[in-house]
């Protein structure tokens, strides 16, 4: 170590230090030489090259927008696709008198008042440098006409663009959603996500539905092209090109035929239907009626259509299936029955006497059954088949709200189902802590009683009820509902299947489950509340009807449907699954102001289930089936099912 010290002592001498400075100076000069050589290279040898690049701004790098991924139904039928067409576009920033230009253009080409209105709306919302379409889908003749007159219209150009189209129109509109022009709020979100560069040149993005939720898959990767341009900024030829990568195609689990049968079954009524494959969570149909034509939104909706959609009392823009909240009414009873059995508050043998109402001891307030004279002696089976209210009033009262809440929440009620579509509402499954947090009030016993028949604070979406029914149908396996079945990676061409996600397994005892299921089967048979809708099915159909009160009825008043205004009439519910022993479909139907579940909601479900179980197998490809699926006839079609 001594010698080492001496070595460093020497190093610290002024002489050694100065030699180090000399090394440093040499390094500095070498660095300068390197820089100067680079400058010489760029500014003398390569000067001409860079001068041409810069001086006339000859090279522009322009983005090449990728084709948006397609959306297909489970059979591969397109729900959203692209087509190429010419548009006439105006860059307002390059034009002094916009009105005169449009007027001039209208002398050459047809420009409808709707085109003008839409253009005006786009212009108000646009950013400065946008090129905005005034006419879409120009014919070859129109293109030629404009080309001749182009010199008169600086700042107006013809472009070939890809357009989004929704070939099925209003069908499945809430599910597919639509794309719309990118606005300032969208830009902010893209910036935050660090996706701005990939959206150079892109003018649309998904605004709702699958188009929005799977934006990242659908958009693709933007390519780029280095273009040599003339003095007027028009492209002369391409120097280099990086191809864009198209968006990924999505295959949905939706069956378009099933979807359309359901939509037609609603007729002019408002409501929602969700059908789920219970063993995977795949959504087979997702209906919210009325729908709207998503094609209207693609290039900016015009004012008149926007107002019509927005102000209609039918609220066609509301997604009732995943955002509509309704009290579940009697459709909650199978779940309540399971709760009673599982928590040992009831056995299948337990009977109660129903005088037509339930009352707390010493209270005169009556919680009325729908049947004023009462059901008499009722066990669990009859309580479900005839939808006896009093049975469930008593059961709820004995269980208490928190036990009810804890059991039912296992089926996903009162919570988001986790479906792969944005905007779903969680609904409300009330409990003591919930009420405390929401209203700062204590829970009352009477509120438990009405919760037993799905009234009171309970608010559920049709999607939630369908998911809960699917969970019940599969004996307690709660698969997360999902709409996208597989994603085709456009780079590799591989299909990536979306795997079912088992959220939880509600441990149901076999005998409890069987008892409830058998009761639900009898709901669909003579004597049950949906006997009419269940008549003559060659398969076993388990279901439950429901009626959700819209307005309260006073103690001594009687609800008479004809006397109540349409908007105040009860909502009709139906939940069910089939074939009951090994279900392939679970469905929830809600008809707004539809009155009785058995008479309006159940028949819709019947058509859907018939098609799913009989139609496909009996009739082969869906297209051959035609519009109206006749209810399956007893006997005959039952044999058909064995023939495929």
């Amino acid at each position: 170590m001594k010698s080492r010290n001496r070595e460093y002592d020497q190093a610290l001498s002024l002489h050694a230090y100065r030699s180090r400075l000399q090394v440093a100076t040499f390094a500095i000069l070498a660095g300068c030489a390197l820089l100067i050589l680079r400058f010489l290279w760029l500014q003398t040898i390569q000067y001409e090259h860079y001068r041409t690049l810069a001086e006339a701004n000859r090279i522009t790098i322009s983005p090449v927008v990728p084709a948006r991924g397609m959306i297909l139904d489970r059979e591969g039928r397109p729900l959203a696709s692209n087509y190429s067409a010419y548009t006439l576009e105006i860059s307002p920033s390059q034009i002094d008198d916009l009105e005169a230009t449009i007027e001039g253009l209208s002398k050459i080409l047809e420009i409808s008042p709707r085109d003008r209105r839409r253009f005006r709306k786009l212009y108000e919302e646009s950013r400065n440098f946008d090129s905005l379409p005034i006419r879409n889908r120009l014919s070859e003749i129109e293109v030629a006409k404009f080309a001749v007159n182009r010199y008169r219209f600086p700042g107006v150009e013809i472009r070939a663009r890809l357009f989004r189209s929704y070939p099925e129109g209003a069908s499945a509109s809430h599910l597919i959603g639509y794309i719309g022009r990118i606005n300032d709020a969208d830009i902010g979100r893209l910036d935050e996500a660090g996706l701005r560069a990939n959206y150079r040149g892109t003018e649309h993005l998904g605004k709702v539905g699958i188009e929005q939720s799977y934006e990242r898959d659908l958009h693709g990767l933007t390519g780029s092209e280095q273009l040599e341009t003339d003095a007027g900024g028009r492209a002369v030829h391409s120097l280099a090109r990086k191809e864009p990568v198209s968006g990924n195609d999505l295959t949905l689990s939706i069956d378009l035929s099933l979807q359309q049968i359901a939509e037609r079954a609603f007729g002019t009524r408002r409501g929602a239907l969700v059908a789920i494959e219970p063993n995977t969570g795949e959504i087979l149909a997702f209906v919210s009626q009325p729908g709207f034509d998503p094609n209207l939104f693609v290039d900016g909706i015009d004012q008149a259509n926007w107002e019509m959609l927005n102000q209609s009392s039918d609220k066609p823009l509301n997604n009732r299936a995943s955002r509509g909240l309704y009290p579940p009414g009697s459709t909650i009873k199978p779940f309540m029955a399971l709760a009673g059995l599982q928590t040992k508050h009831r056995t299948t043998e337990t009977v109660i006497q129903d005088p037509g109402y339930f009352a707390f001891p010493g209270s005169s307030h009556r919680y009325r059954d729908w049947k004023p004279e009462g059901h008499g002696t009722v066990d669990l089976h009859r309580a479900i088949v005839q939808s006896c209210d009093t049975y469930f009033y008593t059961l709820a009262n004995e269980m208490g709200i928190d036990v009810i809440h804890d059991f039912l929440s296992q089926f996903g009620l009162g919570d988001k189902t986790g479906i792969d579509m944005e905007g779903e509402l969680p609904g409300i499954l009330p409990s003591r802590p919930w009420k405390k947090a929401r209203f700062h009030q204590d829970w009352f016993g009477g509120e438990t009683v009405i919760s037993g028949i799905g009234q009171g604070y309970n608010q559920m979406t049709p999607l939630q009820m369908a998911s809960a029914t699917a969970t019940l149908a599969s004996g307690g396996k709660f698969y997360r509902p999902h709409i996208v079945k597989s994603i085709r990676d456009s780079l590799s061409g591989e299909h990536r299947e979306v795997k079912p996600v088992l959220v939880r397994n509600v441990g149901l005892r076999e005998e409890d489950f069987t008892a409830v299921r058998n009761a639900m089967i009898d709901v669909m048979r003579p004597g049950g509340t949906a006997a009419q809708a269940g008549a003559g099915t060659p398969y076993s159909f388990a279901g439950k009807t429901g009626t959700a009160q819209v307005v309260g009825i006073k103690q001594n008043e009687k609800y008479v449907e004809n006397r109540v205004k349409e908007a105040n009439r009860d909502h009709a519910w139906f939940v069910g699954f089939a074939p009951a022993e090994s279900p392939t479909i679970a469905v929830a139907v809600l008809v707004e102001n539809g009155g009785h579940g058995g008479s309006t909601a159940a028949p819709i479900a019947r058509q859907v289930v018939d098609y799913w179980i009989l139609g496909k197998k009996a009739n082969g490809p869906a297209e051959e089936l035609g519009g109206d699926t006749p209810p399956a006839k007893p006997g005959g079609s039952g044999e058909d099912t064995h023939n495929d």
Binding site: N5, T25, L34, F39, Q43, A54
Partner: protein, 364 residues
């Protein structure tokens, strides 16, 4: 009386240094006027920062080096505490945590560390002068690895690398044996693939696009493509002041700060660059002369690493604009817009002047 007073103020200011600095500043204001799109307010703001920086330089020039040496350790400790503070409570801006709020004052501790670290290392080697051993170099290494690591974590890789280089300069000037330097350089080269895995995605992207800017012409490659076009199209004589098309047509990113040199190249051409590089290198060489004539270990190491760091800034910024180094946020000394970096820079020059002025007085 007043004349004597002025003479006393001016006395420690090294005339060649001051002359070079003032020329660079005037040049900087002229370029900034063009780069900011003829925005007089920006230029006035920068001029004000320059005056503050000159004042700071004067004050440090008057402080004797021994005094600076005594300040070095506390300043270093303070800087370190602030860096830890930033890591814990710093304000996030543009995805990086660099600023610290102390009451009404918003400070960037990494900037402070640029000066504190070389001073601290110089003081350390002065303190260990009599019995310097290899262990002392290891401790010095530790002294700069910690703040560098904290800054790299912010993440501010550019500043971290610059501060690391100023630390390396200090070790080099303190007489670290060549054997160790060669060994460390070899080990460092071998560790590059490992370092790669620690980089953020955007940092890797910047290095990749340097190799092939066309791979991402809309994103990270855009800066490099546009800046080389600016430089190349400037030619030998340039397009003339206020006539650079690249800068004025908004093709160039960050034309006032990190890429201001591209504006300069476009407008003043190769000749302009030679003059600017000449001024900056003269400043560095003059500083190294002061270092070479200074008397104590502290003075030599502090002065030397300040000068070498100044050159590093110049080289990294010009190299980035010319497209031979990756895009890192390093300003061009005296030219780029921004007060904080300028003040740090000028305080360094003040230290140099102090060392120069007091070399005859301080004898050890």
């Amino acid at each position: 009386m007043i004349r004597r007073w002025i003479a006393r103020i001016i006395a420690p200011l090294d005339a060649p240094l001051l002359g070079l600095i003032l020329s660079l500043m005037l040049l900087g204001l002229a370029v900034l006027f063009s780069a900011s799109g003829k925005d007089l307010m920006t230029v006035i703001g920068q001029a004000r920062s320059m005056l503050v920086a000159l004042l700071g330089m004067c004050i440090l020039a008057h402080l004797p080096p021994q005094y600076l040496m005594r300040l070095a350790a506390p300043a270093y400790a303070f800087g370190l505490v602030m860096l830890i503070g930033v890591a814990l409570f710093g304000e996030v801006s543009h995805g990086a945590r660099r600023w610290l709020h102390l009451g009404p004052v918003r400070i960037q501790p990494s900037e402070f560390m640029k000066l504190a670290l070389p001073l601290a290392l110089a003081a350390w080697f002065q303190y260990r002068e009599e019995s310097l051993s290899f262990k002392d170099f290891l401790i010095a290494l530790l002294l700069f690895i910690v703040p560098v690591g904290l800054i790299a974590k912010q993440p501010d890789l550019g500043t971290a690398l610059l501060i690391a280089s100023s630390g390396c300069f200090a070790l080099f000037l303190a007489g670290l044996s060549w054997r160790v330097i060669v060994l460390a350089a070899t080990a460092g080269a071998a560790a590059l693939p490992v370092a790669w895995t620690f980089l953020h995605d955007y940092q890797r992207q910047r290095i990749l696009t340097l190799i092939n800017p066309a791979s991402d012409p809309l994103g990270a490659g855009y800066h490099i493509i546009q800046s080389t076009i600016s430089v190349g199209s400037g030619g030998i004589f340039g397009k003339g002041w206020l006539s650079g098309t690249q800068a004025h047509l908004d093709f160039l990113p960050e034309p006032k700060t990190d890429f201001i040199f591209a504006v300069f190249c476009e407008e003043f051409g190769l000749l302009g660059e030679l003059i600017l590089l000449g001024l900056l290198v003269s400043l560095v060489i003059r500083g190294l002369r002061i270092a070479g004539h200074s008397s104590s270990v502290f003075n030599r190491i502090a002065a030397g690493s300040i000068c070498l760091t100044l050159f590093t800034y110049t080289f990294v910024n010009m190299g980035m604009v010319a497209g031979i180094l990756p895009v890192v946020g390093v300003p061009l000394p005296f030219i780029s817009y921004g007060g904080t970096a300028l003040i740090t820079l000028m305080l360094g020059q003040g230290i140099l002047m102090s060392i120069s002025h007091h070399r005859t007085i301080v004898k050890r």
